[in-house]
Amino acid sequence: MARSTGEDAQALFHSLRSAYAATPKNLKIIDLYVAFAVFTALIQVAYMAMVGSFPFNSFLSGILSCTGTAVLAVCLRIQVNKENKEFKDLPPERAYADFVLCNLVLHLVIMNFLG
């Protein structure tokens, strides 16, 4: 049984990789970007866990900037994804513009809150 699940997992990963390989490059870039944000966030969490959340506002802004970036990137990915039928009438440039605007706002807030 365990073996079967193991195999399933094997198969699953395999198929996942193959499926993912199909994704276009620009999406991959986005994914990379997301990953980058997420890792940064994780490192900070680890740091917080070690030394405690003393400058709490800095901690928050640090984490949330990463999270925000990630989330926005995901949104962008969703919108520029060709497969996604919901957004076929929304041109990717428009999506990109929104994305930039949103990011700028985000970073303004972050800077204000960073202390």
Partner: protein
Amino acid sequence: MARSPLILVALISLIPLLCHSFSPETPTGRRILVLVDDLAVKSSQSLYFKSLSSRGYELDFKLADDPKIALQRYGQYLYDGLVLFCPTVERFGGSIDQAAILDFVDSGHDLIIAADVQSSDLIREIATECGADFDEDPAAMVIDHINYAVSENEGDHTVIASDNLIKSDVILGSSKIEAPVLFQGIGHSLNPANSLVFKVLSASPATYSANPKSKLSSPPALTGSAISLVSVMQARNNARILISGSLSMFSNRFFRSGVQKAQSSTKHEKSGNEQFLTEISKWVFHERGHLKAVNVKHHKVGEEDEPAVYRIKDDLEYSVEIYEWSGSSWEPYVADDVQVQFYMMSPYVLKTLTSDKKGVYSTSFKVPDVYGVFQFKVEYEKLGYTTLSLSKQIPVRPFKHNEYERFIPAAYPYYGAAFSMMVGFFLFSFVHLYSK
């Protein structure tokens, strides 16, 4: 000769215009009204009065029931002090009554009350208002069969030679009173809860207060050291009151007569009365122990002018100047127990002020890290001295938004993250747009 008093009155009526009455600037008033119930008292007590007038007081003798006497005219007080040597007066003449006298005291003037055997309810009531309860029994006298003054003609030991005086230089002067003080009259008791009044001359344990002529039927109301013979009271507005149970202790007879305590061989040529009463009258008329505090200053360390508001954790300096009235001028007051509180509902900081010997007291401390409306409080109470209570309100505010610590090392990783995100975004925005 006959019209000189009239002239005197005329003068006095002018005085308020010319001369200062009791004021914080010159606490020692000069004009004293003496009410007697028999003009003979002026003569029989003359030594005491002489000691007063020799110190520059203008004494104005009046019969207590003289219909012309008045304490104030046109809202101005005519006198700075009042001496009641009229134990038996039932009702004052003129515009004076109990309320008038109490108002006189409550407006910061000084009072000397001498009661005696058979003294009237009026006098007793005034004394009570000042916190001293005389023995209810009108015929009672203070009797002491152990500490009486030996005399060949005085048999029922009502003339008491007492020498347990209050230990206070400011009240009784620095020179020790050697001879015992003669006392003949009625005793009074003080309410122990009353913090304004204290015994100056108190009785010995064997003393009791009763009618010497009749046998004791019930336990005497006052016995032992609970009996106070002479008390002083300093009102909250620093008016001072002397309450004595004996008029005769002021008399020339007692001033002059020698003293020998029973069961003690030492015989003093002269009783302590003169010194005792003179010294205490100096205290009562503010020639001693009257303090004033002037220019209270506080400012941040390193600055000069005082701010409208402090911030928490500021370092500040506080200073105040205290002077004592020497009877003629203000001398720097020197002590080491003046304290200042930094107070909000309870003292947050309480420090003893350090004094240079020129009357300036100062200290410095750090404002607590609690914001609110604080007060600098100086509550200086010392036996025999007038109470100093200064309070100065000063708000303490928390940090402003831009006064908090920034660029904290501990937060470097977060800063780093935020900026790497920004740079990352910049790159990404470029890459995403143009990569194919």
